[in-house]
Symmetry: C2
Subunit: 462 residues, 2 copies
Amino acid sequence: MIKPRTPPGVMELLPHDQIAFQRLLDTIRRNFERFGFLPVETPVMELSEVLLTKSGGETERQVYFVQSTGALNKTEGGSGEGMPELALRFDLTVPLARYVAEHEHELAFPFRRYQMQRVYRGERAQRGRFREFYQCDIDVIGKDALSIRFDAELPAVIHAVFSELNIGAFTIQLNNRKLMRGFFEALGIADGEQQALVLREVDKLDKRGEGHVRDTLVDEFGLADDVVARILEFVKVRSTSHADAIAKLDALGGGSEVLREGVQELREVLELVHALGVPESAYALNFSIARGLDYYTGTVYETTLNDYPQIGSICSGGRYENLASHYTKSKLPGVGISIGLTRLFWQLREAGLLDTAQSTVQVLVTQMDAAHLPHCLAVASELRHGGFNTEVVMEPSKLGKQFKYADRAGIRFVVVLGEDEIAKDTVTVKDLRREDQFEVARSELSKTLRVELAQAQALPQG
Amino acid sequence: MIKPRTPPGVMELLPHDQIAFQRLLDTIRRNFERFGFLPVETPVMELSEVLLTKSGGETERQVYFVQSTGALNKTEGGSGEGMPELALRFDLTVPLARYVAEHEHELAFPFRRYQMQRVYRGERAQRGRFREFYQCDIDVIGKDALSIRFDAELPAVIHAVFSELNIGAFTIQLNNRKLMRGFFEALGIADGEQQALVLREVDKLDKRGEGHVRDTLVDEFGLADDVVARILEFVKVRSTSHADAIAKLDALGGGSEVLREGVQELREVLELVHALGVPESAYALNFSIARGLDYYTGTVYETTLNDYPQIGSICSGGRYENLASHYTKSKLPGVGISIGLTRLFWQLREAGLLDTAQSTVQVLVTQMDAAHLPHCLAVASELRHGGFNTEVVMEPSKLGKQFKYADRAGIRFVVVLGEDEIAKDTVTVKDLRREDQFEVARSELSKTLRVELAQAQALPQG
């Protein structure tokens, strides 16, 4: 007998949690499609040499390699050397780069794609970290060039997704790498590497306190007191409204060309985000947002839940110069965002922000007498044709037990078909949510339930 | 520069094909849920010792093993011995067994689950065979026992799925292993192994012809002429209607207990399939259907497209005695079916049975002048709130080019916003499918498009 268990570091859900998870996936996908993004799926396995174009990074150390039994035997025999031929994707960006480069001449540019699949990282197992997790990504890829205007669409998508997910107020925080670069260069910190180190230090403001960060920047980085003061002032900039954001950009003044370019880009993005109907309360400037410094080159985004800042960014991304330089000479600039859904689900569940009580099953047709089963099945069939997810009790048991089952399973409507109902061609419906009960002609059943559902949706939530 | 390419044996789709594939997945899922099945997803990686409970089989030779960089280095250093710790699932049945055994005390039985995920087999690469492919499975698992009635639900699910997929007429073929066993035992072929060999031979009827099969059964299997004649007559049995199916079962007469049990089960299944509203034309007895002889013990199913018999079974399954004997002492009988969707998609596309022309994007909002962009974005925002998947042209270009793009992309509605329209607060809509054009008040846009779509759906297809 072998103990049934999953490997460490994966998240496997019981059906009710899986339903809640699927609801998140569906909502995200619906909104990605609403904004005109097209679906792409890539194989979980890529050729190692294609996947691992740079070597030695943190990511590469976490890669899972794949070998068929045949390949494995060869390796054990000593004839196989070096890296296995196949590896599991560790993100959706490298597969996107490979996909776009491979299918470049079959795609229409700007190419708008979404991809929602699992990725794999051999991280150290710990609470809330996963070795297998869903990423939900959208990217717009241009050929040669891509207008800054596309950078404005992504906050609108983020807003649509998280509004509908209904997990509380959130803020989409925007910044621009050019603006940051211009600011730092003006302070004499021209080296990208050093900017990165300074920003990493500044990132510890919340944890270590301003005094500690200030001392480090002066003592270890050798920055002048007034430079450090200006940095700390800069990274604390947050806007409180659309007008305030524009005013804060204007306040940065002229400066270098790269600074002016960053300001101009951010201004255009903000104006178009506004035009797209994203409410002012949902977005803000945040000059401390940097993201991956070696990758993003313009707009950067992070999104946080206002009441759960400790969760960190729930959706991040930005603008990059060139997607696929390892695979093609074509210049493919892009802008994208990513939601790490497995971790987000885990965090939302921990915070009690998920409804995991409702089943996908909407109606249970009970069975009072085995002889009635054909009748029960016919009624179930009508309900299914009417669009209702319907389960039939197939094995006879006490009616009370059947009700208890529906209640525990989160099934809202229970249909009872006794001798009486069958004779009159009616059904009795018990609504477990509203705790009432009614009898209705069998031919009116689906219509009546649709009305009940519509009423429930029209009622205020909570 | 590295050549961007996928490993051999995987199916990667361009967006339009991916949309068609996603439509299949959605339709299958919707129907699985319609019948009250609950979603389950399991990790792609299982512990090797959990996944590979039997050894030496064909399946095991095709397993992909997974190793993190760390584990790989250990192996190369010589300290690692034997099988890697992790492996990719090769079907959804073993993970289901592990899942049910692991979560036995948290699940309600009969447990009705669906699972639609990719599985991995290191098969020899050849046209139409895949190393990574989707399986879409449903199973009902009982604790200790599971009524035969559940076997009747699955044909109803199959019927709902393939009717909605709209890929032509199909027949769900039913048989019962007990009935077969009884028949063979009566002929003196009592050994299960030998029954299997005979059936495998009989399976070659279409390819090799009756004469060849008859000779083999007489010469190589040493069966008497009259026994062979009865076998060949038996396996040719097909019913032509519900009444005919019942009559053909009755015609089998008394026979042994196991034969009578098989007949009784099949009769009950047929009666309930009928009660579930599955049309008679969609199901039939087929006494040649056997499936995996070491696994299935009662009802067995295969489904074929009437006009494309060469595609083979598009959905198969059956009843099994005990799901998870390797993991638990509990007896868990079940019944299930599986659709191998990647191969099916490939076959349907080859046969020209798939519509891959329609985009998920329903509306393209064009841009005539860069100054109009905020207006275009606002209209797009209204369309999205109205439930339409909408793309906006973000980079100005000639209007003709924008129309051509919509046409090629399979986007049905194109919205034009010129000076005129903006002044009057109207929009001009061009319907590329119906090839007409109309002007409508901006406030009426979503409502009007909804009506257009509803009309299109009400029209006969083709």
